[in-house]
Symmetry: C7
Subunit: 99 residues, 7 copies
């Protein structure tokens, strides 16, 4: 049940959050649960696109490998092989980062 074996449906994409380094504020290490979850992620795989009312399918603009930003409460958390991922609709992606 690894991430490579998962295909998102329609306009959904599979995203791996980019974990930031241990955050320190004023010399105190903030434990994981207190840290705000990062809003950056890497696209692992994408659905085949959204279909219109005539059954025509349009491929997504977001591609596997893209670094993306998304809103704090975007997507559904899901575990694949014990690892956490997010599944969200392309429409929830705010934009793409060129690195």
């Amino acid at each position: 049940m690894a991430a490579s074996s998962f295909t998102p449906l329609h306009d959904r994409i599979l995203v791996k959050r980019v974990e930031e380094g241990e955050s320190i504020r004023g010399g105190i290490i903030i434990p994981d649960s207190a840290k705000e979850k990062p809003q950056e992620g890497k696209v692992i795989s994408v659905g085949k696109g959204k279909s219109n009312d005539e059954g025509k399918t349009f491929p997504l603009d977001v591609k596997a490998g893209d670094s993306i930003l998304f809103g704090k409460y975007s997507g559904t958390e899901i575990k694949l092989d014990g690892e956490e991922f997010l599944i969200m609709r392309e429409e929830e992606v705010l934009g793409i980062l060129k690195k």
Copy 2:
């Protein structure tokens, strides 16, 4: 009233949850009601598809036999022959697992 005798309507699918092994946390067996229900399932049967405003019907992308992931609160629970199933719309399926 077995599952094989049930045909979901339109864009709905009949899903059997994949039950995970007995969960143990810190040596204490967690009884069934306290365990978070798995978000993985197997598609048992599918409707004939969604129709557009002109009456044209488009078959679903999800097929009987597919292993799928879905959101925690997806679908309607229903009993067929004493066995629990979920009926959900294809739109609630997050993606398909190749095993």
Copy 3:
């Protein structure tokens, strides 16, 4: 005002709940009000279908005589000749049981 004299409008259907046998849990007979209402029913009659924006009407997929499953809170309860029925839209039908 018998059920046979009632014609549902448009995409609505008239449904008779299938009453289950008296339910017993741990030897105690559960009175009617405490039992969860069955989610199975028989279609008594159907409307002529839904019309699109051009006035074209599409007949329903559900037919009189079909055994159907529906969600717990589906439909509007109504009495015809002292007997209880449900009127629901075809869209609320989860699927059809072949018996």
Copy 4:
């Protein structure tokens, strides 16, 4: 301001509730305000129909004189010449009774 002088607009219909006989439970006459309002009515007049986005108007399926059933909270109560009526959209009509 009698009912005959009122023309409902578009897809609305004017309905007269059918008042049921005085209800008695266990020998106690239940006064009017405690009785559940009947869900049956007679169509007094109907609008000319709903128009689509191109300005084409489609006549209603419900006709003046029809006996109809409707949901408990359907329609807007209105007084014409001191008499109570309901104005509702055709879409709120559950079905038609042949008597």
Copy 5:
């Protein structure tokens, strides 16, 4: 800023409530604020109509001079030259009274 100088926009209409005679219940004159506002009005002026997505405009069915009924909470109250009027969309009009 008299009513004659006001042109409602699109599918809106300008309405003057028809004030009913002083209401008396059981011999006590009910002051104005305690009376339920009448749901009858006279159409003073109407907008040029609603436009569809192609820019085609369809004139309203309600005309200046029509006596109309409307729901209790319909429209926006507005003062023109110290006099109270209601501006509502044609869709909020329940029907027309022929007098």
Copy 6:
């Protein structure tokens, strides 16, 4: 950042509230914050119009210089050069006053 340098987007319009004279009730001058804000305004500038799904743009019916009425809670308050304005969609305009 004067009002003349601002162009509303699409179907939005820039409006200057018409301030009414100091209001007096029963001889007591009501300070500004207690007065109900006037619902009349002057259109300062308008957007180029709303576009349909094919990219065709339709100019607005409301023009710069028009005196308009609008609902109590319409529009977004904004300051240009220290002066207060409202930006609202044309759809929020109730009608036009000829003076």
Copy 7:
């Protein structure tokens, strides 16, 4: 992860708030958190536009470099290289300032 490396998706735009000078009321300097956030911003980059149901894309009216006004609660706050930005849909832009 600088702003120049970010491309908003579809009809979204990347906006840098224009910070106003330190605000003083009655001689007391108001610290940052108490100041109302400015509703003016500069467009840094824009998405390629919104697509209709046939897959045709329409470029945005707002361009990189535009000074814009937006509502108080518009957009999603996001940090790029430690600097705060807003990502919003073009539809949330109230208008453009010519300076």
